[in-house]
C-alpha cells in the first residue's frame, strides 16, 4: 500500500448516547452498592492486581457507568478476587461481588 505521509486519527470524543447502559442496569440490580462509588480510588491504590498490571477497579466502575462495555471487558479479568478492596472502600461498595457479577454477566450468564 502506498504511504501517503498522513494518517487519520480516530475521534477520541465520547458520545454519551452511544454508551450501552444495559449492563450497568443489570449489575446494579445484582449489586446495588455500585451506585455509591465516588471514584476515590482507594480500591485501586491498595489493589494487588494493580501493582503488576494496568488495572484499576475505579476505572472499571466508571467505564461501566459510562456504558463503555468494551473497556470493562478488557480489564475485568485482571482482578485476582483477593477482596482487599472491600476492606478499604469508604462508601461500602461490595467490590469483590461487583467484579464477580460483571464477569458472570460478560460471560453470558444472565443474573437478572
Amino acid at each position: 500500500m502506498p504511504r501517503w505521509g498522513y494518517k487519520i486519527h480516530e475521534d477520541r470524543q465520547v458520545i454519551w448516547e452511544e454508551g450501552d447502559f444495559s449492563l450497568v442496569e443489570r449489575i446494579r440490580l445484582a449489586e446495588p452498592s455500585l451506585c455509591l462509588c465516588i471514584s476515590c480510588g482507594t480500591c485501586a491504590s491498595g489493589c494487588t492486581a494493580a501493582q503488576f498490571t494496568d488495572f484499576s477497579l475505579r476505572r472499571v466502575i466508571i467505564q461501566l457507568q459510562r456504558g463503555r462495555i468494551e473497556e470493562v471487558r478488557q480489564e475485568i479479568d485482571r482482578c485476582m478476587l483477593c477482596g482487599k478492596c472491600i476492606l478499604t472502600c469508604p462508601r461500602g461498595v461490595n467490590t469483590r461481588h461487583l467484579v464477580l457479577c460483571i464477569r458472570k454477566e460478560l460471560s453470558g450468564d444472565v443474573l437478572y
Binding site: 470524543q13 465520547v14 451506585c35 463503555r68 462508601r91
Partner: protein, 340 residues
C-alpha cells in the same frame, strides 16, 4: 438611661433575626430594607437543603412574635451616613432622617448573572435556566417542561457558574450551590422519575451535616449521575435540546452529551447594597468584594468603624443556619458595645 437605637440595614433572614433579638434585648430598632418586603432571598426558595424543609416555615418563624416596637421601613434606600458625636445620622432617598447609636449591616448577597457566561447560553437558548429559575418553578408548582412543552428526558446541572472562575472575576467558592444542585436534582427526579439527571462538577463540596447523606441518597435512591468535568460550552440542537461538551475527567476523554434542560448553579456575589453601604461607610472589602470583619476568627462582627457591625452573607457565602447564628451573635456583640 435613654433607650439606645440600632439601625439594621437589610431585611433578609439575618436582618430580621437580629432585629427581633435586639428588640427582645430592650433596644429600639429601625429595620431598613431596599426591597418591597422583608425576607430577602428566602422569598424565592421553595424547599431548603439538606432536609427539604419548606422555606415558608423559616419565613413564618421570622415573622412570628415580630415585635411591634421595631420600625420597619421597606423600599428605603440610604443615600448618606454621617456622624454626630457618637450617633449615626442616616438619610434616605425619601428624605427620612434616622438617628442611631449603632449600625448593623445585613445587606447580604445577590446571585451571579448567568448571561455573563455567554458560552453556556443563558438568555440565548430557551432550555437553559438557572437554579433560581428552577426553584421558582418548584415554588409556583409549575410543571417542569422544556420550552417546547415536552417532559425533559435528560437534565444537566452545571456546578460553579460564576464561582471558582477567574474569567468571571470570582475566585471564591459559593459554598451552597453543590448541595443545592443535589437537592434540586433529587426533587426533579421525584417529579420526573423517568428522567436521567446529571451533575457536572469540579469538586463536590458537601460541607454540612446531612449534606453527604443527601449526596449518597441521591446516588443510591435517585440514581443521579455525577460527572466530574466543567462545561466548556453548550450548543442548541435543531429540536431545541442542548449539546454539552465537558471532559469526563475520570476517564480522561472529551464527552459530548445531549440534554433537554440545562440548569446553571449560579453563585453568591456581594449584593449591590453590600457594595453601596460598604462604600458609604468606608468599610474594608475582601478581594471577592464581600465586607471584611476586623478579625474573622475573633471579632467577626466588628469593622474598622466604631459602632458599625456586620452579620450574615454580606461577609461571604453562608448557609441559612450560619446566617441566623451569625445574626444572633452580632446582637450579643452590639449589646456589649452599647451597654459598656
Amino acid at each position: 438611661m435613654m433607650t439606645k437605637t440600632v439601625a439594621v440595614i437589610g431585611g433578609g433572614p439575618a436582618g430580621m433575626e437580629a432585629s427581633k433579638e435586639l428588640a427582645f434585648n430592650g433596644f429600639q430598632v429601625v429595620l431598613l430594607e431596599s426591597g418591597a418586603r422583608l425576607g430577602g432571598h428566602m422569598n424565592q426558595w421553595d424547599r431548603l437543603f439538606p432536609n427539604k424543609r419548606p422555606a415558608g416555615e423559616i419565613l413564618e418563624s421570622l415573622y412570628r412574635n415580630f415585635p411591634g416596637s421595631i420600625t420597619v421601613m421597606t423600599e428605603t434606600n440610604i443615600t448618606s451616613i454621617g456622624r454626630n458625636a457618637d450617633r449615626f445620622i442616616l438619610r434616605t432617598a425619601g428624605r427620612d432622617v434616622i438617628e442611631a447609636d449603632a449600625l448593623l449591616v445585613c445587606t447580604g448577597f445577590r446571585v451571579f448573572d448567568a448571561i455573563l457566561k455567554e458560552e453556556y447560553g443563558y438568555g440565548i437558548y430557551d432550555n437553559v435556566i438557572t437554579s433560581v429559575d428552577l426553584e421558582q418553578w418548584f415554588k409556583e408548582k409549575r410543571p417542569v417542561l422544556t420550552s417546547h412543552g415536552r417532559v425533559p428526558a435528560t437534565v444537566g446541572f452545571i456546578h460553579c457558574v460564576g464561582s471558582r472562575d477567574e474569567k468571571s472575576g470570582n475566585l471564591h467558592c459559593s459554598k451552597v450551590c453543590c448541595v443545592t444542585a443535589v437537592k434540586q436534582a433529587v426533587e426533579l427526579k421525584e417529579k420526573l422519575p423517568e428522567a436521567r439527571i446529571f451533575c457536572f462538577y469540579m469538586d463536590l463540596r458537601m460541607f454540612g451535616l446531612g449534606y453527604e447523606e443527601l449526596y449518597k441518597e441521591s446516588q443510591e435512591k435517585y440514581r443521579i449521575q455525577f460527572i466530574r468535568g466543567r462545561l466548556s460550552e453548550a450548543f442548541e440542537n435543531m429540536d431545541g435540546s442542548l449539546m454539552a461538551k465537558v471532559e469526563d475527567t475520570l476517564t480522561a476523554k472529551p464527552l459530548r452529551i445531549n440534554l433537554d434542560l440545562l440548569v446553571l448553579m449560579v453563585g453568591f456575589l456581594p449584593s449591590d447594597g453590600t457594595a453601596a453601604i460598604g462604600s458609604l461607610l468606608g468599610l474594608t472589602f475582601n478581594p471577592n468584594g464581600f465586607l471584611q470583619p476586623r478579625d474573622g476568627h475573633l471579632q467577626p462582627h466588628d469593622t474598622e468603624q466604631q459602632g458599625v457591625f456586620l452579620a450574615g452573607s454580606c461577609k461571604g457565602p453562608k448557609n441559612l443556619e450560619e446566617t441566623l447564628a451569625d445574626a444572633r451573635s452580632a446582637v450579643l456583640r452590639i449589646r456589649q458595645y452599647l451597654t459598656n
